[in-house]
């Protein structure tokens, strides 16, 4: 009955034949999977894709139709800057992810074997191209929306799409090459830096003439540019394909393990675990030198760790504050006041959250907090200082940028960062202390489909406090009054009240509530 060949004198030869046959290995694994996709599964997938096309088809079509509008030349620079920043972010993400990685089991069992490396990594390569094409299409759309389309829209859109896809695919190929060799890594850094510089130049208005020329370029020029970009992208893809089997195994294993953790975190829907993974990966790779701990009162001494961590990542701090210019770029690109206000507060909250790692660790696994023995409320109060300072400073800087670049929100508005700071700190600490997603929470049946309340509640925990605490500021940013003094005063009271109320109501998670947290995070830490 067994189909396995009996050991023979040709055994060695058989083995040699099987080595390199990635297809045979994959077929073997595929045949032993518990659930193979049935015809019904394929139908459901196809139907889902058709539905997506139907749902998003209309907005995309109407967007394309709307593109025929003339774009205000003063806004072109900001729009192009946003596209350049998006591409730089895409390259940075690709680099951080690997980008070439395998599912964790494949990395453990197939990578460390004599199988043909390029064949093994082939599916990953195709997936990367697909991701890059999709990202590139979005970039292309962004580009055409930034530059406008004065004449036959279809050709302009096609040209922009070709440019966007070429840039993203070429960038992804560059990231793959960077994984294989250090010299390409340098090129990737240069391209990312060049994109950042392009964004700065575009915002500063120095590229106005160039951008005006690009926006009104004749169709042959557009075709030539798109063809050139496609040729460069094809060259890079070819080099990347050749380089696939030169990527060091160590780099692949690291990327695959990281990817495995990320996938696990995504499967159990515990986005908090992603932060743990990112933090641990970063600090494990750093060489640190111990410094004496300052003699502070106990709660402040405990909170000092967040300050020290911040000081150890000056580049990250600088990048965060450089990004304070983003709302201004958004304003220049024509973003309405509500979008602008939302960007300022969301950015300030995101920056405030970076100063709450200690509270998040103690919330998820309070073992060290118990050893330290500082009162929960006192610890939180001390830990609120840094996120308040970060969030408030970022909001102030963002508003200064907006007023410098667009003239809006000047004068008294600059002080808005100060009264929103306490509310942002409370919101950041609430986010840091939230429990993992509760998957037992009920699922709501809505006309748009089932909505699981667990992830929803998790996502809004913290944002709710920010919205309540920053309500006067939100109202002020939305209505943009000429004299916002009253709003600022009310905001100061609201911010202080929200922080005081949060600290008053704060209680540590019980031992039962923390069971899920460390268990999930332990996987990330054990590596």
């Amino acid at each position: 009955m067994s189909e396995r060949p009996a050991p023979t004198a040709r055994g060695h030869h058989d083995m040699t034949e099987s080595v390199g046959s990635v297809r045979a290995v994959r077929a073997f694994l595929w045949s032993r999977r518990r659930a193979r996709p049935s015809l019904l599964d394929r139908y459901v997938t196809g139907f889902g894709l058709a539905m997506l096309a139907a749902v998003f088809g209309t907005p995309v079509t109407s967007t394309l139709e709307g593109l025929n509008l003339q774009i205000d030349p003063s806004r072109t620079g900001a729009g192009v800057a946003l596209v350049a920043l998006a591409l730089a972010g895409f390259l940075a993400t690709a680099r951080a992810a690997g980008p070439v990685l395998l599912p964790s089991p494949d990395a453990s069992w197939l990578l460390l074997s004599p199988l043909n490396r390029r064949q093994l990594l082939g599916p990953t390569g195709r997936m990367l191209v697909l991701v890059a094409v999709m990202a590139g299409a979005l970039l292309g759309l962004g580009l055409v929306m930034a530059l406008g389309a004065p004449d036959p829209i279809v050709w302009r859109v096609l040209g922009a799409l070709a440019l966007g896809v070429s840039a993203a695919v070429g960038g992804m190929a560059l990231a793959v090459l960077g994984q294989a060799s250090q010299s390409w890594q340098v090129w990737l850094t240069v391209v990312t830096a060049a994109l950042m510089a392009l964004a700065v130049l575009a915002v500063s208005g120095r590229l106005r003439t160039v951008l005006a020329l690009a926006a009104n370029a004749p169709l042959p020029a557009v075709t030539a540019a798109a063809s050139g970009a496609a040729a460069v992208a094809a060259f890079l893809v070819g080099r990347a394909w050749v380089a696939l089997d030169r990527i060091p195994t160590r780099a692949l294993v690291t990327a695959s393990t990281r990817g495995g953790h990320v996938a696990n975190a995504a499967v159990v829907l515990d986005p908090g675990a992603l932060t743990w993974i990112a933090e641990d990966n970063h600090w494990r790779a750093r060489r640190l030198t111990s410094r004496r701990w300052p003699a502070l009162p106990a709660p402040l001494a405990l909170a000092w760790q967040d300050w020290r961590r911040l000081g150890r990542r000056p580049g990250r701090l600088a990048a965060m504050f450089a990004l304070a210019a983003l709302p201004a770029v958004l304003a220049q690109a024509g973003g309405p006041p509500p979008v602008l206000g939302g960007a300022v507060l969301a950015g300030a909250l995101a920056v405030a959250v970076t100063g709450t790692s200690g509270a998040r660790r103690d919330g998820d696994n309070p073992a060290l907090a118990r050893l330290i023995g500082v009162g929960h409320r006192q610890a939180l109060a001390a830990r609120a200082i840094l996120p308040a300072l970060l969030g408030g400073a970022w909001a102030t800087l963002a508003l200064v940028w907006v007023s410098v670049l667009t003239g809006a929100f000047s004068g008294t508005w600059w002080w808005l960062g100060l009264p929103v700071a306490p509310a942002l700190a409370a919101a950041a600490l609430r986010m840091a202390g939230r429990s993992p997603v509760d998957h037992s929470a009920p699922v709501l049946d809505t006309p748009g489909g089932p909505v699981p309340t667990g992830p929803l509640i998790w996502a809004f925990t913290g944002i709710d406090l920010a919205l309540i605490g920053c309500l006067p500021a939100v109202a002020a940013l939305f209505s943009a009054p000429a004299r916002p003094g009253t709003f600022l005063a009310v905001q100061a009271v609201a911010g202080a009240l929200v922080l005081a109320g949060y600290l008053w109501r704060a209680r540590p998670r019980t031992a039962q509530e923390t069971v899920t947290g460390p268990a999930t995070k332990g996987t990330a830490q054990a590596t």
Partner: protein
């Protein structure tokens, strides 16, 4: 070390007297996890200055008992008193009790030495200086490493250093020998004796017979070793 049987029935007046004199007193403790009784009618008293080793096979309830003593595990029935009152997972309790369980969530971006410095700064009168702790726990050469970059045994030594550096009256240790080499296990017994000589009390769950031989041994299942 005393080898009295902790499971021996005690009279009501005897129990009341024991409660007054003891650091820990457990009476008829029953804990069920998922419907399974893990601890049943357990009694135990621990006096100041004692080292008590909770021993037994895997799954007999050693860690559950320690969690009950730390106020982290609700009891099904019975009474657990630590310092004369039910243990509570609050700051006042943790100022007197030092717990070593699984690998804690180390603070990112801090070195091993800085974790100990933090512990030393937060507690007004630490039991030993950071430098001394690094020496005692053989971590001097790895003092600048983030804890996650330490080996399992080194991380365990760092945990023990943190737990023994800070002042406390009661030390609860769950398998402190985990990952430690033979040499350090022997030194650990000496460190625990030093702790109790200063008036502290130790309850540890362990599989290490040598370590347990330095303590009064009790078994959650009711049987008491010599």
């Amino acid at each position: 070390m005393s080898a009295r049987n902790p499971c021996a029935p005690a009279g009501i007046s005897g129990y009341a007297r024991t409660v007054q004199d003891s650091i820990i007193s457990i009476d008829r403790l029953t804990v069920e996890l998922g419907g399974n009784p893990v601890l049943r009618d357990m009694r135990l008293t621990v006096s100041q200055g004692e080292i008590v080793a909770v021993i037994g096979p895997n799954g007999c309830g050693k860690s559950t008992l320690l969690r009950c003593l730390a106020g982290l595990q609700p009891v099904t029935s019975g009474e657990v008193l630590v310092f004369g009152r039910p243990p509570a997972d609050d700051t006042a309790f943790w100022r007197r009790v030092s717990l070593l369980g699984d690998d804690p969530a180390w603070y990112p971006g801090l070195t091993a030495r800085e974790h100990l410095e933090l512990m030393s700064t937060v507690h007004a009168r630490p039991r030993m200086a950071v430098e001394a702790a690094l020496e005692v726990f053989a971590l001097v050469e790895r003092a600048d490493a983030p804890p996650l970059n330490l080996s399992t045994g080194q991380r365990q030594r760092l945990c023990l250093a943190a737990a023994l550096l800070r002042p406390s009256s009661l030390l609860l240790l769950d398998e402190p020998e985990r990952g430690l080499d033979v040499g350090f296990r022997a030194r650990l017994a000496g460190l625990l004796h030093e702790y109790t000589a200063e008036g502290g009390t130790v309850v540890l769950a362990t599989h290490d017979q040598d370590l347990a031989s330095h303590a009064r041994q009790v078994s959650p299942s009711g049987a008491t070793a010599a």
